[in-house]
């Protein structure tokens, strides 16, 4: 009984993943895969940005690391010889299945997050945003220069196309399950408490650094997993794939839905994904009666930027504020604990 809703949700997702590819048009399967990956990426970003108030701009850096790590670990040995002839011995000889590669990608990102988080999570407000943006830039530069591992700025290709709707749905469920259980446990309460008032949080025995670090590292883990899924979906990518455009998209999805809400992350991702698809079709140009609308390239990018600005100006708490479906909080938060979450990006909390 207690798990009834979970079982129903899993059954629906299983059905979707199992039947989807057979009954849905190819186009919609691809849209759903990207949607699922973005749910993983954006909800994991929300844990640090919305729940602890550490507004990180470094998320695509972890996505990139996840994609490259899993890509290197799963590449066929013959392709490895051809594309990455200079790989060090232990990597040149391994070819892992999808699941272990994905998990290693996630753990690798979590470890990187802990290492950079120990100094960075002590910073406050805007400083932490700037510093994490610095991390994103560093990752990009390192990937471009580590040609031995990544082919540099050239396309990294030949990655096995493992990602399908089943994997994505499965990982999305795991991500939301883990994040919701953490966010609405004492650990998540510590995160939200440090966000609202770090001084008062310390006075009731909450250590700031571990609370923030856990959110950052857990977010990085799922960013790495999502990056691995995305890599095996794209099959070829370059460092530029995981840069500012991806950051703007993730942030727009997050703030539109409501940073401090996992439900909000799903809503934001869904809304922007649909909108992007519509805009992408419009970009190619269309005719409206006798009116010919010419192709406008980059229209969807511009629209995302506009949405981001409009949300920040008119509804900084996002569509949902910090409201959640009861399914997400598992009744662990008293009802009516209202949507008052109001704050601007990186808004100078110490």
């Amino acid at each position: 009984m207690k798990y009834a809703r979970l079982v129903v949700a899993l059954a629906l997702i299983g059905l979707l993943a199992g039947l989807g590819p057979h009954v849905l048009p190819e186009y919609w399967v691809r849209v759903l895969i990207v949607l699922g990956i973005n749910i993983i990426l954006v909800s994991s970003l929300g844990l640090s940005n919305g729940f602890t108030g550490v507004f990180s701009l470094g998320h695509p850096g972890f996505v990139a690391l996840g994609a490259y790590v899993s890509g290197i670990l799963t590449l066929e040995l013959t392709k490895k010889g051809a594309y990455l002839p200079d790989l060090p011995g232990f990597l040149a000889g391994v070819q892992l299945p999808f699941l272990p590669a994905t998990l290693i990608a996630g753990v690798f990102c979590a470890l990187v997050a802990v290492v950079i988080g120990i100094p960075l999570m002590r910073l406050s407000g805007n400083y932490v945003s700037v510093a994490t943006l610095g991390f994103l830039v560093i990752v990009n530069v390192v990937l471009v220069n580590a040609e031995q591992f990544t082919r540099g700025s050239r396309t990294f290709t030949g990655i096995p196309p493992y990602t399908d709707l089943g994997w994505v749905a499965g990982w999305a469920v795991v991500t939301l399950l883990v994040l919701s259980r953490v966010a609405y446990s004492p650990l998540g309460r510590a995160m939200r408490a440090t966000r609202d008032d770090p001084i008062a949080a310390q006075a009731v025995g909450i250590h700031i650094l571990p609370a923030r670090l856990m959110a950052f590292a857990l977010g990085a883990f799922f960013a790495g997993v999502g990056g691995a899924l995305y890599g095996h979906y794209l099959v070829s990518f370059s460092p530029a794939t995981f840069y500012v455009a991806m950051l703007v998209q993730q942030l727009t999805m997050l703030v539109l839905g409501g940073q401090a809400s996992l439900t909000g992350a799903v809503v934001g991702v869904s809304a922007i994904t649909l909108l992007s698809e519509v805009l992408r079709n419009l970009e190619r140009g269309f005719s409206l009666g006798s009116l010919q609308v010419p192709a406008v390239f980059g229209a969807s990018q511009i629209a995302l930027g506009f949405i981001f600005i409009l949300v920040m100006v008119y509804r900084p708490q996002g569509l949902l504020g910090d409201r959640e479906l009861p399914l997400v909080t598992g009744g662990r938060v008293a009802k009516g604990a209202g949507p008052v979450y109001k704050d601007t990006v990186g808004g100078g909390r110490t």
Partner: protein, 252 residues
């Protein structure tokens, strides 16, 4: 139980607290009074670890605590409220108190995700404790409201409940009656007495409301410009000429 020894803090040459000595025993209610800027809040910040002493230190139950982190000190059993209030304003009233209770009911990542181990028992226990404290301070009816939406007087009571939830042996309150009307202040006095008796706490109270201080405290220390100018029972302190001078003949 608590002892400050030679406790001194200077801010870039400004001596906020000078060679301060105070002993507080179990169950005692001690008042600290003095004009604005006399170093009272600085004293609390030193004891609770938010400031490092320039000289001297603080002992709690025989251990030197003045180099410990604020959260560590809270875990040892010293709770405090703040001048003004500092609530987790986006969290519900109940969640605020539970945030205070959770240091006594810790849960690790694996337990939180799986629901195994201490997760269930600790959730029940901390929730029960939080409800009990909300009943005590009279906020059970508004438990689901966001803390930031409460009127000022109730925010004060909530902050006290949150501090109590940490299971302290010593509770320090920084001007709890500021901004309250006489009705609310009288209720606060009753509440503090009840808390002390029920939880067997020591209390240190910073307060400007002389009625409250004189009625509640067994012992009072008076600060002025960071120096301790008097210490004694309410009657002794009221009779002290230096205290009258410090307050410009005002209250005493």
């Amino acid at each position: 139980m608590l002892e400050t020894h030679d406790l001194t803090k200077s801010f870039k040459g400004l001596m906020a607290l000078k060679r301060h000595h105070l002993r507080v025993g179990p169950g005692e209610i001690v008042g600290v009074i003095g004009p604005n800027g006399s170093g009272k809040s600085t004293l609390f910040n030193l004891i609770s670890g938010f400031l490092r002493p320039s000289q001297g230190g603080v002992r709690f139950e025989g251990h030197e605590i003045s180099r410990l982190a604020p959260a560590t000190i809270a875990r040892l059993g010293i709770a405090r409220t703040f001048q003004g209030t500092r609530l987790f304003k986006n969290l519900s009233v109940l969640e605020n108190v539970r945030a205070g209770a959770q240091l006594r009911y810790p849960v690790n990542l694996v337990e939180a995700v799986s629901g195994w181990g201490r997760a269930r028992a600790h959730q029940t226990a901390s929730e029960g404790r939080a409800w009990g404290l909300l009943e005590l301070v009279g906020l059970a009816e508004v438990a689901a409201q966001p803390a930031g939406s409460l009127p000022y007087g109730n925010q004060r009571r909530l902050e006290i409940a949150r501090a109590l939830a940490t299971g302290p042996k010593l509770l320090m309150m920084d001007e709890p009656a500021a901004g309250l009307d006489s009705h609310e202040t009288a209720a606060l006095l009753q509440l503090i007495r009840r808390i002390r008796d029920q939880f067997e706490l020591a209390v240190i109270l910073i307060e400007h409301d002389m009625d409250l201080v004189m009625n509640l405290c067994e012992r009072i220390q008076v600060l002025a410009y960071g120096e301790t100018i008097a210490e004694g029972t309410p009657a002794e302190v009221q009779a002290d000429p230096r205290v009258r001078e410090a307050y410009l003949g005002g209250v005493a």
